[in-house]
Symmetry: C2
């Protein structure tokens, strides 16, 4: 197993659009898939009201894990640890939505797919995670 360089980690973050976000809860951690965009050194995401959003507001120190797994002996895994910040200003919201739409090949429906509420991206709560630390490790390959 070897550590990934920051550049390798960022390549994986840019290449992928699905990760798993881990958030503290009262007893331990809660973790669910997250569709995200990596741009300007930050993770952009969106959320519908629900458990994930509630927990991120309570404990804004979150982690996003993204991997490429070819086989049990060939995989790469990146961990972004950072601070959740809800985007509330109109300008930063518009910008975040543009970043998300671009990452999802210009299709706003894909961006919000997966939300129970079927909110449009214009309605969704948008947030960013500013990395405090990006680390990664790999096996094989």
């Amino acid at each position: 197993m070897r550590d990934l360089s920051l550049a390798e980690c960022e390549d994986i973050l840019r290449m992928q659009t699905v990760g798993r976000i881990a958030v503290r809860d009262a007893d331990g951690v809660y973790i669910v898939p997250l569709h995200y965009a990596f741009a300007e050194g930050a993770i952009f995401g969106h959320a519908a009201p629900g458990k994930k959003l509630r927990l991120m507001r309570l404990w804004p120190h979150v982690a996003l894990q993204v991997d490429t797994i070819v086989s049990p002996t060939e995989w790469k895994s990146v961990l972004v640890q950072g601070a959740f910040r809800e985007l509330t200003g109109e300008e930063e919201q518009v910008h975040a939505r543009q970043v998300l739409v671009r990452a999802f090949e210009g299709n706003p429906l894909l961006v919000t797919a997966g939300h129970g509420h079927r909110t449009t991206l214009a309605e969704a709560i948008v947030f960013r995670i500013d990395p405090a630390e990006i680390t990664g490790c790999a096996e094989g390959g």
Copy 2:
């Protein structure tokens, strides 16, 4: 988005052999891929000495997330929240190793692939996670 039944969750846990384990650390959470076996209602895993193991010993309330993602609009995700317990008795260690080898199609090399130290399964620290709660949700499909 719909909730999965316990039976659906257990089917996914049995079908998969790779998940992502989330563990608390001092500031937030740490999350890495985990090769596991689901048997007898519990998660069996193994670990080499390192950050993951150190954190699980400190904060034994962990979460394992397992998913099947077909597309952004078609995925299932299971979350096991439970208690990490290191297996220290010889009998329970032997049993856990048998469970792990069986889940990995009888190939002990596959079980330990991914560990930097290239420990054999006989040397690896084995543990189980007894679920306090198993929940899941799905989109599409």
